[in-house]
């Protein structure tokens, strides 16, 4: 066969229309991050962001250092999550593990609070209060201070690695790292006595878990604040998606008023000025955006509603004599009304609507209920667990005995003298393991401050004084120096026959 085809010329070979699957014309499946260097901006919202950032950072770093005197033997840290002793201290409030529903209540309030804020202000959390936003803002500020504003930073990115660049970059990373260590370090102070742990961290005496926690939080702060930035919001965080589902046409969002901005144009010659909208296409709004997006493309997933573009646009408008608020916080309803030439809804109407009122009412009710429970909760409690193996013991004189594990909880931060007594079960007498005292119906105990006292108690009753099977009675504990009382309904079991 080969000999027959030997005289075919290259031009005679049919060309097949095909393209390699990995040809350059195919777009890449992966996209490298494009660096965003937001330009410095000033204005109302930038000032608001500075204030919120300052307050939030101060709360985070300073809180563990606040002291609160609780008396001898109690921690004097105002806010402390004491995992070892299973206590949570918040100023005058102390939470025991069985009171964990307060934390559940706080989480429900936080949830409803976010619904409320989102339905009124949109993604205000993302733009102002989210730790990611706050720390990125801080990191960008450090970057700007060392490397200059937007254009200088782009230039430095492209510049070859010379001594100046290495020095600038090294300084920047060092400061970022210090902030990151301080951030991770502050976190562990919430879980132990801050001044003690602070010293221990430096003398290498702190626990491994403390160093690991500091290490992990240092790494995440450094990477998320320095390098990942908007990628965290766009790709990692579920909140933008959840919030998109919670906003409606009455929620405030940063909006470009395209009905008066378009068509945009830079050249404002007398001839065509009437054809152009208010936008002079200076791209300031894009340059200042920490997410690197163009708000004029409309509402989008990436927008964290920080309103820095509002500040940028208003600055330019003031300078050029244009009408301000071409970009502004607007509800979808007002935007549509404005676009149709109708007056916008007053803010009062968009804020106070059925949905927000329901959220606010729910939030307040739960808050009031929690406050009520907090100020009326028990600080003395008793738990009784009846021994089930054996159910009962017949004693030599024929009487019946049951065993109980009794736990008395003194949740006050002081020692208390209490009286434990049996009520209702006639002729019943108790003895306490470890106490060689005559059997009695009442017994006094001194409870240590903020402790659980566990007692092994035997209750014996003459056979004639109990019904066969289960007999109900109560263990009561009374504070001898106060008025507090606690009861526990227990069962005394006798033979069935």
């Amino acid at each position: 066969m080969a000999s027959n085809d030997a005289n075919v010329t290259p031009g005679d070979v049919a060309r097949i229309e095909v393209e390699a699957v990995n040809s350059r014309q195919h777009r890449s499946l992966y996209k490298a991050r494009e660096s965003i260097h937001p330009m410095r901006v000033s204005g109302v919202f930038r000032r608001l962001k500075w204030w919120i950032m300052g307050v939030l950072l101060a709360i985070y770093y300073v809180t563990p250092w606040l002291r609160w005197d609780r008396g001898v033997g109690m921690p004097d840290q105002a806010v402390l999550v004491d995992l070892e002793h299973r206590r949570f201290f918040f100023f005058f409030i102390e939470i025991w593990p069985q009171e964990f529903y307060y934390v559940a209540g706080m989480l429900i309030m936080a949830g409803i609070g976010l619904f409320l804020v989102t339905s009124v202000l949109g993604r205000a959390w993302c733009g102002y209060a989210c730790p990611q936003t706050v720390w990125v803002d801080l990191y960008v500020h450090v970057e700007r201070w060392l490397e200059g504003d937007r254009n200088a930073r782009f230039r430095l990115d492209k510049a070859p690695w010379n001594a100046a660049k290495i020095r600038k970059r090294f300084t920047k990373y060092l400061i970022w790292l210090l902030i990151a260590v301080a951030t991770g370090g502050a976190w562990v102070f919430y879980f132990a006595d801050a001044p003690t742990l602070f010293v221990k961290l430096f003398t290498l005496e702190a626990s491994v878990i403390a160093y690991v926690t500091v290490g992990v939080l240092t790494a995440t702060t450094f990477v998320f604040g320095g390098f990942m930035r908007e990628q965290v919001c766009t790709y990692m965080c579920p909140w933008p998606r959840i919030q998109a589902a919670m906003m409606d046409e009455n929620s405030l969002t940063v909006t470009y008023q395209d009905w008066r901005g378009e068509p945009r144009g830079r050249h404002r010659k007398a001839a065509d000025a009437s054809l152009l909208g208010d936008c002079i296409d200076c791209n300031q709004c894009v340059a200042v955006c920490p997410m690197g997006i163009d708000i004029r493309d409309g509402q989008q997933l990436e927008c964290i509603n920080c309103a820095l573009c509002v500040d940028a646009c208003n600055t330019i408008m003031a300078r050029t004599g244009g009408t301000p608020n071409l970009i502004s916080y607007t509800t979808l309803k007002s935007y549509e009304a404005n676009a149709d030439g109708r007056p916008a809804l007053p803010l009062k109407k968009t804020v106070f609507r059925a949905r927000t009122l329901v959220y606010a009412t729910l939030w307040s009710c739960i808050g009031l209920a929690m406050l009520f429970v907090l100020f009326t909760r028990d600080r003395l409690d008793i738990n009784v667990l009846r021994d089930r193996n054996p159910q009962f013991v017949v004693l030599s004189d024929g009487s019946i005995r049951n065993g109980y594990t009794v736990k008395i909880l003194n949740m006050e931060q002081k020692e208390r003298r209490v009286l434990l007594q049996i009520s209702e079960l006639p002729d019943a007498l108790m003895t306490v393991v470890g106490q060689d005292l005559w059997p009695s119906r009442t017994r006094e105990f001194v409870l240590s401050a903020d402790q659980v006292q566990q007692l092994q108690i035997y209750v014996a009753v003459p056979r004639a004084s109990v019904e066969p099977g289960a007999n109900s009675f109560r263990f009561s504990v009374t504070d001898l120096s106060g008025i507090e009382q606690a009861h526990y309904g227990a069962i005394f079991r006798a033979p069935e026959e």
Binding site: N389, P390, V393, R401
Partner: protein, 289 residues
């Protein structure tokens, strides 16, 4: 269904997937995501090298670190032993009564005793120490050999009727019926006498008949009023607790041919600290004297 289109709003291609008019944009994945994915794969290979990973016929590949969960548990147990060593040495050096007077030591001894009890004692005395016919209930206040700390410790140490231990607790009641000391009617009479001593329902006539027989044959060990004698290991017959049952037939059977329980001498098998902990645990069950 899977026709590729370009989304008019964003100008980005779609994957062609569409659900009720909702289309999926075909945005490129961030490159760091790819690196994270690759890093996870590298980590997985590293894990396979360092830790047990691939199951083979009889065991998994061991991994270069030589980690095993069993060795880890063993180490935890060793650490727990070291952590307990201070308490254990205190239990070892102090007298039983002193251990009981220290709330922490008492709790430590009770917990240790409970664990040792479950392993060594529960087979006969039951997991709740309630016993069964022939095996005494340790919760009650009736003690054949004494219920104070020292007596309980001695019983544990030397056992009951334990062959080979000279100090073992030993008592033997004659087989009055089987060996022909008493005839069947006399045994029945004595049984009713015993029921009368215990304040149980009985046949008055037979009990009266048994009074003298009891005084002649039983009172030497069990006492005139049936209070028993711990020195001799003679049980109290006048209370509500019966090792082999409280019916006339059960008592008669015990008089006819008594059964005698056996308990091992635990001093041969357990260390002194464990014996002490067991003593305090048994003493704490409610009948301790």
């Amino acid at each position: 269904m899977s026709e590729k289109k370009t989304d008019e709003v964003t100008g980005i291609d779609t994957t062609g997937h569409e659900w009720d008019g909702i289309r999926e944009l075909d945005n490129p994945l961030p490159r760091w995501w790819l690196w994270t994915f690759l890093a996870c794969i590298v980590w997985a290979f590293g894990y396979m090298v360092f830790y047990p990973a691939i199951p083979l016929v009889s065991e998994a590949t061991p991994g270069v670190l030589g980690y095993s969960s069993r060795a880890s548990v063993h180490q935890d147990i060793q650490e727990a032993r070291v952590a307990q060593s201070e308490m254990i040495s205190k239990v070892d050096s102090l007298a039983l009564a002193d251990i009981r007077n220290d709330a922490d030591l008492l709790q430590f001894a009770i917990n240790g005793g409970r664990a040792a009890y479950s392993v060594n004692c529960s087979q006969c005395h039951g997991s709740g120490a309630a016993g069964s016919p022939g095996y005494p209930n340790l919760n009650d206040d009736e003690w054949i050999w004494g219920g104070n700390l020292e007596s309980i410790a001695t019983t544990l140490q030397h056992g009951i009727r334990h062959p080979g231990d000279d100090d073992t607790r030993f008592s033997e009641m004659p087989a009055f019926g089987r060996d022909g000391i008493l005839d069947k009617e006399q045994v029945k009479a004595v049984a009713n006498r015993v029921l009368a001593l215990a304040g149980q329902p009985h046949d008055t006539e037979l009990a009266t008949a048994g009074t003298e027989l009891y005084a002649d044959n039983c009172a030497a060990c069990h006492g005139e009023t049936g209070k028993g004698d711990r020195e001799q290991g003679a049980p109290n017959l006048s209370d509500a607790i019966w090792l082999y049952g409280s019916s006339e037939a059960e008592i008669a059977r015990q008089i006819h041919a008594p059964r005698h329980g056996v308990m091992p001498a635990w001093g041969d098998r357990l260390d002194p600290v464990t014996i002490k902990q067991l003593t305090i645990y048994v003493h704490s069950l409610g009948g301790g004297e």
